[in-house]
């Protein structure tokens, strides 16, 4: 009804205007058609329907329907199952030819309720095979320069002969197993379907050429040194079972080199044969230290288990220096056992020093180890093992006590890559042993990050191939605190979340939502690492607070340790355990490319009067009440309204009898003293040009220089997504208002964040300061 009246009024208005325009006939014709069109458009606009576009709409349509494996609470359900895969492997590292040979026996336990007609095995090394799709699908113009080897590889049909050479696949009876290889995935064609609860045992013999990762990239390979030695960091090096679960079926998305891994848990018995003068560590626990160490080293290995104060050497720098000068033709065999891990990796070289420190985690001893060449010193002996120990402690506080017996950091130049209990990390001083704070920061940062990956995804085992952010983003979030605790000066918390503003304020055409598969991201680092970490930082520090956030986050980690969580399990658990509705946050920050921009648009100052204002008069009129029949009331008058009289400025609300009488009659003297006495009333209009909804954090600076903060929850935007108004009472006059003064909400435009409006931009300010100094 109201709409109709409005249209009528418009029409009248238009006819009136038209009359005015009746000077030229042509013009009138034109105007009429113009107005007609406008009126028509208006009608259609009012009729157009839309779906629920609220930023606070629950995520029912986005999240998968809960079931008995993944519950609506975000917990694993009573029908949750998970496969188990055990490996027995004998590995030979052939240093002379840079080849690696393996014979592995895989025991696949089908714990699912399904019959499996075939099994999928991951052949990650085939990413380096001559027929790999990886170079085919990566675009880009010519390189700046080409080495002869790169030139022949790229243009002359002489690629690196990488990839697995499968010698045989046999079952327990020695019978050949039928298989098919599709690039980086291999299907084992079972003679008969594997029933629920059954296991299948088979054996694969393989070898491949190890890549020089300085030339052919990659997270695994060897680093050549000028002294002729190599440092091998060997990973995703054996055929590994793909994950079978009820979310993806077989997770057999191809490996292109970028999106990482989805793997099952199991137990590993591994022997590795290396040159006799090599030092090696791997996932798991060394079973035969006496066979591979000198007796002095073995004694130090045992003694280190009680070295809680400082790192101690197991293999000394002098021993490593002596070893790297030789080149033994003899071999020795290292034996490892690892329980309940999702993968296995090792590092080996005769250049390696090994130091160790014992870490006490609630009464349980875990070993922190570092292996590094002399080139890494003095930086590495000062910081690596201590950074490992710190990471284990801080992450354990955030999640659960680190369940594995050890964690190792290996110094491999230009690497930063994680595997269970072992990781490769960059960071070396200059040749003269000096290093900058930045080198140190980078090195401690990467060690914290990669050791932190033990928790996400090595234990809280999300699917990295599908959701990069679930391990990289969540890990980068905890990393912020672990680094801060290690060195608060080098890693200040104040860097977050503003570190992500540069990315989020970019053109929409260059952004993707976090909820994208890793392969599809143009800005991988910002999207999968920086943005989710900054988002969780905002949740913990600004939206939920430490108590609610930490309990929910811990609940997620504990519910899903040694299991395969999905994004929905994380989103749901964080709400289920905290009673904080976060659907708006997940929707905006994770499912869209929106950014936050909240500003203060207008500020009006009001004073109190007992004389009815124009608004009150109008209200009385509309209800048909005489003005003197209005109940006794106080009214607020804006400073800039014609009704405002200067003498109101000196009046306090208590100066009006109607209020003071009410207070005297109704409140005890104690209650009276607790009452606030506001004098000024500010009407604050906040605008939101940004797409995201966020809490509004406001700082009021008073004339006397004191400050006060107020935080309005994000839900303030429920009914109006563009603009909200609040009344703020104050006993003191306000000099300055700042929205989000500490930059806690990743606001992409601070130009509208203060009142009185700041006209000076960042550049002008800098220039002025520059001239001053």
């Amino acid at each position: 009804m109201i709409k109709k009246q409005l249209n009528c009024a418009n029409y009248k208005n238009q006819t009136y205007k038209m009359k005015k325009l009746l000077v030229a006939v042509l013009l009138t014709v034109f105007s009429t058609s113009f107005f007609a069109q406008e009126a028509e458009q208006k009608t259609t606009t009012t009729k157009k329907a839309h779906y629920n576009e609220s930023k606070f709409k629950q995520l029912h349509e986005e999240l998968p329907t809960p079931n008995n494996e993944h519950r609506a609470s975000g917990a694993p359900g009573h029908e949750y199952t998970q496969q188990q895969v055990d490996y027995k492997m004998n590995i030979v590292l052939d240093e002379e030819n840079n080849k690696i040979f393996g014979e592995e026996t895989i025991t696949y336990h089908n714990n699912s309720k399904d019959h499996l007609e075939y099994l999928w095995v991951q052949l990650d090394q085939n990413m380096r095979a001559p027929d790999s799709n990886t170079p085919e699908i990566s675009g880009g113009g010519p390189d700046v320069m080409y080495s002869p080897s790169k030139f022949t590889k790229t243009f002359m049909g002489k690629p690196f002969q990488g990839g697995f050479n499968i010698e045989f696949i046999k079952d327990v009876n020695g019978k050949d197993v039928n298989y098919l290889i599709n690039k980086t995935m291999m299907r084992i064609n079972l003679p008969k379907p594997l029933a629920s609860g059954e296991k299948y045992v088979f054996k694969i013999k393989w070898w491949y050429n190890i890549n020089d990762y300085f030339v052919d990239r990659g997270r695994s390979g060897y680093e050549p040194f000028p002294d002729g030695n190599n440092l091998y960091v060997i990973a995703q090096f054996f055929p590994r079972m793909a994950v079978y679960n009820n979310v993806e079926g077989w997770q057999n998305l191809q490996f292109t080199g970028r999106s990482e891994f989805a793997l099952e848990f199991g137990n590993y018995e591994v022997t590795i044969t290396t040159p006799k003068d090599h030092i090696l560590n791997a996932t798991g626990v060394l079973q035969n230290p006496k066979d591979v160490f000198t007796s002095a080293q073995n004694k130090r290995y045992e003694d280190s288990k009680t070295a809680f104060e400082n790192p101690v050497f197991i293999v000394t720098p002098e021993e490593a220096l002596a070893a790297e000068k030789g080149r033994s033709k003899e071999t020795k065999t290292w034996k490892f056992y690892a329980e309940n891990v999702r993968d296995f990796a090792f590092a080996s070289s005769r250049k390696l020093i090994w130091d160790a420190m014992a870490v006490n985690l609630n009464g349980k001893t875990v070993m922190a180890y570092s292996l590094y060449p002399n080139e890494g010193n003095p930086l590495w002996e000062e910081h690596s093992t201590r950074a490992v120990a710190n990471t284990l402690k801080v992450y354990s506080d955030f999640t659960f006590d680190y369940p594995y017996p050890q964690a190792t950091s290996v110094n491999a130049d230009r690497q930063g890559m994680e595997y269970p209990m072992i990781c490769w990390n960059f960071g070396r001083p200059d040749k003269d042993g000096k290093y900058s704070e930045r080198t140190k920061k980078g090195m401690i940062g990467v060690i914290t990050h990669e050791v932190g990956h033990n928790f996400f995804p090595m234990i809280v085992n999300s699917d990295e191939r599908m959701w990069t952010w679930m391990d990289e983003g969540i890990n980068s979030f905890v990393e912020i605190y672990a680094e801060y605790i290690y060195d608060p000066v080098l890693f200040p918390l104040t860097d977050y979340p503003k570190n992500i503003v540069g990315y989020m304020s970019g053109d929409q055409s260059g952004l993707e939502p976090i909820m994208s598969q890793g392969e599809d991201l143009t800005n991988f680092g910002s999207n999968a690492y920086g943005k989710p970490a900054a988002g969780l930082f905002i949740l913990r520090e600004t939206v939920m607070g430490h108590k609610l956030f930490d309990h929910a986050f811990k609940t997620y980690a504990q519910r899903w340790k040694f299991k395969h969580p999905t994004p929905a399990d994380f989103f749901r658990t964080m709400e289920d355990a905290s009673a904080v509705d976060l659907d708006w946050f997940w929707r905006g920050w994770f499912y869209t490319t929106g950014a936050n921009d909240i500003g203060i648009k207008e500020v009006k100052k009001y004073y109190v009067t007992d004389k009815p204002t124009k608004r009150a008069e109008n209200m009385a009129k509309s209800y048909g009440i005489a003005l003197d029949k209005l109940p006794p009331s106080l009214y607020l008058v804006s400073e800039d309204s014609p009704e405002f009289k200067n003498d109101l400025k000196s009046k306090k609300p208590e100066d009006y009898n109607l209020l003071s009488d009410y207070i005297n009659e109704n409140f005890s003297s104690e209650e009276k003293t607790a009452l606030k006495s506001p004098k000024y009333f500010y009407e604050l209009v906040f605008e939101k040009p940004g797409d995201l909804v966020m809490p509004i954090i406001v700082e009021f600076e008073y004339e006397d220089g004191t400050k006060e903060r107020k935080q309005y929850p994000a839900e303030i935007w429920r009914l109006n997504d563009a603009e909200v108004t609040k009344v703020f009472p104050s006993s003191k006059s306000i000099k300055k208002i700042t929205v989000d003064p500490d930059e806690q909400t990743a606001d992409i435009d601070l130009g509208n964040n203060s009142w009185p409006k700041q006209t000076e931009n960042k550049f002008e300010k800098f220039k002025k300061d520059q001239i001053k100094s």
Binding site: G140, G141, P142, D143, V144, M145, S147, K150, Y213, F214, V215, R217, G218, R219, G257, R258, R414, Q415, G416, M417, W424, F426, D430, S436, E437, R438, T439, K441, G442, G445, V446, H449, E450, E472, P492, D495, G502, S505, G506, D507, S509, G510, T522, N523, F524, G525, S526, Y529, N761, K762, F763, E764, F766, K767, Q770
Partner: protein, 165 residues
């Protein structure tokens, strides 16, 4: 020998990006203010990547943003910027005035200004910051004129952005 070393380093760097702890990006914010007849440019770059590049070009350790930083560091910055950030306004190459720099954590921000621009008809940026050393380098260029905003994502094979009004 020296050349060989440099080549080795150049070939090695691309691998780094694959390991992914960090990423390669710079942010160049350009704003034209008509009342000041001024094109204001703020360029933010990761210090470690810039230090690697300058040390290599100059052949000595500059120790950027540290207590032992070389005294005439601004001369090196000015030179590098003038060679790698080329700005043409109204189809004319412009030299800019180096106002100064600020260090903010891992980032250094340069403030440079082109003055005496009465009309702003077009701007062309050729941004070669760090692209020779880091093939995965992405250089973001944001241009702001009053309420108009435009962002360009530049890289080694596409290092120019042209905007006409």
């Amino acid at each position: 020998m020296q050349l060989k070393k440099i080549i080795v380093i150049l070939l090695v760097l691309p691998l780094f990006a694959f390991t992914m702890h960090k990423y390669y990006v710079s942010l160049c914010e350009i704003e034209y203010l008509k009342e000041k007849q001024s094109v204001q440019i703020i360029l933010g770059v990761f210090i470690d990547d810039l230090e690697f590049t300058l040390n290599k070009n100059i052949g000595k350790q500059l120790n950027l943003a540290s207590k032992t930083e070389v005294e005439n560091v601004d001369d090196y910055y000015k030179k590098y910027l003038s060679e790698h950030l080329l700005v043409s306004v109204n189809s004319k190459n412009q030299s800019f005035k180096y106002i100064g720099k600020e260090y903010d954590g891992d980032i250094v921000r340069f403030y440079v200004e082109i003055s005496g621009i009465k009309e702003f008809k077009s701007i062309e940026i050729t941004n070669n910051i760090l692209i020779n050393e880091f093939p995965d380098q992405k250089n973001i260029v944001k241009i702001k004129v009053k309420d108009f905003n435009k962002t360009f994502y530049l890289n080694k094979s596409n290092n120019k952005s042209l905007l006409k009004f």
